[in-house]
């Protein structure tokens, strides 16, 4: 059926900082939309809508939004009850209070408990808390994930190796409106002595989306 994946060129992508007006991979064919994307940028710069510098800085800023930021935020919430309370109220304000800019689009945290396991999807497009975590993984944007998660979340979770008892309420959140969601997972057992930096290493991007649980301490 449909391949929702982007074009993969089968090699590592280095940081091509200076090659603004060169195609990404000089030996492979370029596509109509790559040409359009390039032309759009150049045209908007020519017209003074923004400068080449604005564009470069915006790309650099986007590159700083990663799941590691989410991991730090979760680890802090696990170790600081006041911060956790702020986070549950409003993620953007809570992260701003620790010097992390999560952007203008409102993000809310949904908390996992022994009774409730949360998982996030956007069936209509692929809304995701990009302001904090950066771009979503390809699978999150795929037809398979967007179609099936609201319908058979446990089957989806099982594909990620996550199996929960029937006693637990699996709660799917379809991000249809202005809010974006991040899962606040439960702190794993056996982590009592660990500080926030160590705890952050257990928090994967997948557990912020809700398809996985955090890693176990001393695992792998």
């Amino acid at each position: 059926m449909t391949n929702e994946h982007e074009h993969t060129h089968g090699h590592d992508h280095d940081h091509d900082h200076d090659r603004t007006f060169q195609p990404d991979i000089e030996d492979s064919p370029f596509t109509h939309y790559q040409v359009m994307a390039e032309a759009l940028g150049e045209l908007l710069i020519d017209k003074g809508i923004f400068s080449a510098d604005d564009l470069r800085r915006q790309i650099e800023h986007l590159d700083t939004r990663t799941p590691a930021l989410g991991a730090d935020v979760i680890a802090r919430a696990w170790t600081d009850p006041d911060f956790k309370a702020k986070l549950m109220e409003n993620v953007n304000e809570a992260t701003e209070s620790i010097g992390v800019d999560a952007g203008d689009i409102p993000i809310r945290a949904v908390e996992n408990t022994p009774e409730t396991h949360n998982v996030i999807v956007c069936t209509l497009c692929s809304c995701y808390p990009r302001g904090l975590l950066g771009p979503p993984p390809d699978w999150y944007k795929s037809r398979a994930y967007r179609s099936r998660t609201v319908r058979e979340p446990r089957a989806i979770l099982a594909e990620f190796g996550t199996n929960l008892s029937d006693d637990v309420e699996v709660r799917v959140h379809d991000s249809t409106a202005d809010l974006r969601y991040i899962v606040l997972p439960m702190r794993p057992d056996g982590t009592d002595g660990m500080d926030a930096a160590e705890l952050a290493k257990l928090v994967t991007r997948d557990c912020l989306i809700g398809v996985s649980l955090p890693d176990d301490p001393g695992g792998a």
């Binding site: 929702e4 809508i49 390809d138």
Partner: protein, 107 residues
């Protein structure tokens, strides 16, 4: 009463397994993301307008294009509709880019 399901509105449909292998965004995709943000900041593009244009690509095109290709098509359309850019300007610039890139490959 019932009605047709639009192609982008896919919650609940059958689909295949999740392919967890993905890719890191390529420079042109990051550039598209940045263009979206910069135009949004300058109130030339709203997320809702972009989404509407993506949805209106309709069945066939919606499924054939990649994720950022849909963004590129939609953002171009919004900017054309708002007269920020013209069809003629965009067409000429695209031809210029294509020629430049073709030459770069031959050299």
């Amino acid at each position: 009463m019932t009605g047709p399901r639009r192609v982008h509105d896919m919650g609940g449909q059958d689909a295949g397994p999740i392919e967890t292998e993905g890719h890191v965004n390529e420079p042109w995709e990051k550039r598209m993301d940045a263009i979206r943000m910069l135009c949004g900041q300058r109130e030339l593009l709203r997320t809702d307008e972009m989404r509407r244009n993506i949805e209106d690509l309709g069945p066939g095109v919606y499924t054939e294009l990649g994720y950022y290709e849909r963004w590129c098509a939609a953002i171009s359309n919004v900017l054309l509709q708002k007269k920020v850019i013209s069809v003629d300007e965009l067409g000429r610039k695209m031809a210029e880019v294509e020629e430049r890139w073709t030459k770069a490959r031959k050299s």
